[in-house]
């Protein structure tokens, strides 16, 4: 009985997860696939060549340079806040923690149309750093929560000891706390990175025409004027392969519960 249920769950899981992934690969390599046939009738690399010629490289560079900046800046503004909330006893602590959730609760389109007004007024539409800031809206709460949890778990007497020995507060933070919160910082970085990599709507609304990140590039083939399954799938392959690699790394090095935060991204 137990055996059977294990097999059923395992097989179902693999099927359900890999079916969509399989279809994406199938489309990416098909060059002729009429709607009436069950499988592609001709395979090739045309879609890959097409997306590379259409500027996939530029989008890859954009996405993978914006994301680290988002991580860096959101860490910079989160660390002081996480430090004070996590290691000290302050008033309204719960309230502040809850306020950090609001950027995740408010639908992105809502803040998006407000930012649209401001950015157009300031001439920041399509500006690289302006997009970094926009990505930080959703990335910072995750960063804050992870780092704060790390600070929370540190024995408060450590700081006192350091201060008694004559270290300034900045020094204490840098020398004592930073090494201790590294795990939280790491998992926060994973969330922030993944948030930025996935952010679509605000980049579409505020980044065009210059900032074509991977999701926006993909959008041209699935939601724009035409649906082109071939190129769209080819781009997806470029995104899925590194993702599978990240899953592998996370399984190996980071506690999987930390990964949970990556779930909100649309």
């Amino acid at each position: 009985m137990k055996r059977i249920s294990i097999s059923i769950v395992s097989v179902a899981m693999v099927l359900i997860i890999f079916f969509p992934v399989f279809v994406i690969f199938e489309w990416a390599f098909s060059t002729i696939w009429y709607g009436t046939s069950l499988f592609p009738t001709q395979l090739g690399f045309r879609s890959f060549i097409q997306v590379i010629q259409a500027g996939l490289g530029k989008s890859l560079i954009l996405s993978f340079t914006i994301a680290p900046l988002v991580v860096l800046f959101s860490a910079l503004i989160s660390i002081p806040a996480a430090y004070i909330i996590g290691t000290k006893d302050i008033k309204s602590k719960k309230l502040i923690e809850n306020l950090f959730l609001i950027p995740l609760i408010v639908p992105p389109i809502v803040s998006g149309i407000g930012i649209l007004s401001i950015y157009t007024q300031l001439g920041l539409i399509g500006n690289y750093m302006a997009i970094v800031l926009v990505h930080m809206i959703g990335a910072t709460p995750y960063m804050f929560r992870s780092v704060e949890a790390s600070f929370e778990s540190i024995d408060p007497s450590i700081e006192e000891a350091a201060r008694v020995l004559g270290a300034t507060r900045l020094r204490t933070i840098l020398r004592i706390y930073l090494p201790l919160v590294t795990p939280g910082l790491l998992s926060g970085s994973v969330f922030a990175f993944s948030w930025s990599l996935n952010e679509f709507l605000l980049t579409l609304l505020l980044g065009l025409p210059n900032i074509v990140t991977l999701p926006v590039f993909l959008y041209r083939y699935v939601g724009g004027y035409y649906i082109s399954p071939g190129p769209a799938s080819a781009i997806s392959v470029f995104l899925i392969v590194p993702s599978l690699f990240i899953v592998y790394l996370m399984e190996k090095y980071i506690k999987s519960e930390y990964v949970a935060g990556a779930g909100i991204k649309g």
Binding site: V9, M13, V21, I24, I84, V106, A232, M250, A260
Partner: protein, 289 residues
């Protein structure tokens, strides 16, 4: 004991975050709010003038907007319920059952977390649209009527399927997280007292893992309620998710006033739902104790 710190000092440390969110988040929301009353306008050069016109339009019972809001709500709520049920059983499975190849399976189910929404939505569009593999399979197995639409359909079936696929791993992780905090001797004790596995799961594990479970479901719900990509690819002409309706008003029709009202109501609904939900849950939990 953590040392006490004055609120003003704490504020100093919080200031980078506060300044950041004031400019990029609070200020835009204020503008949206003003725009919804006609007190500010991106599109027109006319002088601003206070008006309730857009609100009246929104709350017109025959109008499209309330229906959009309701559709976004029930569709995401249904998906949340499905996700919760599936995830609970999977979490129990992964937590209690050990078998060969478990690490592979438990890595597998996390894959959707790392696939962008747009891609997942597109993949499901492919599978569920007429002639797609899943649609053919279900029709051949007579699970669905061959003529039944599974994407871009008025009931949002496609949206629900894709949302479930994308969000359940997140819930499973959260629930496993709370399961780990349950004292394992409790379960053992109940088992030795003669209760069956499932009985002890429902009597002991379920109530104890409730807090994490409920927190996870509201996070999933809110994510789906406000999401854009999935509804954009898999949604029907009607009814529309509120996010799609706002997007169309901004990009297609340049109706900024209407878009702002929808945004304000959308935002308030999201915050209110979260707030009420946590209040009610806290109350129920409190009573139980």
């Amino acid at each position: 004991m953590k040392p006490k710190v004055k609120f003003s000092v704490a504020l100093l440390y919080l200031s980078p975050v506060i300044i950041f969110y004031s400019f990029i988040f609070v200020l835009p929301l204020i503008l949206v709010f003003l725009q919804s009353f006609g007190l500010y306008s991106l599109g027109s050069t006319k002088p601003p003038k206070f008006t309730l016109e857009y609100y009246l339009k929104f709350f017109d019972l025959k109008g499209p907007y309330l229906e959009s809001l309701w559709f976004s709500f029930w569709n995401s709520a249904l998906a949340t319920v499905i996700i919760s049920i599936i995830s609970f059983f999977l979490a129990i499975f992964f937590y209690f059952v050990n078998f060969k190849g478990k690490s592979f399976i438990s890595a597998t189910y996390k894959i959707p977390l790392f696939i962008p929404y747009l891609i997942s939505a597109f993949a499901w569009w492919n599978l569920l649209s007429p002639g797609g593999y899943v649609q053919r399979l279900l029709a051949a197995a007579r699970i669905v009527n061959p003529n039944m639409l599974l994407v871009n359909d008025p009931n949002g079936i496609g949206i629900i399927v894709a949302n479930v696929w994308m969000n359940f791993p997140y819930m499973v992780l959260l629930i496993i997280g709370t399961l780990k905090m349950i004292d394992p001797t409790l379960i053992e004790a109940s088992r030795t007292l003669g209760s069956t596995f499932w009985k002890s799961v429902f009597k002991i594990v379920l109530p104890l893992s409730m807090p994490g479970f409920l927190a996870g479901s509201i996070l999933s719900f809110i994510g789906m309620f406000g999401a854009f990509s999935v509804a954009f690819i898999l949604g029907a002409s009607w009814p529309q998710y509120m996010s799609i309706s706002i997007y169309n008003d901004v990009t297609q029709f340049s109706q900024y006033g209407m878009a702002s009202v929808q945004s304000v109501v959308y935002m308030i609904s999201a915050i209110l739902i979260t707030y009420l939900y946590t209040k009610i849950i806290a109350k129920i939990q409190g009573e139980r104790k």
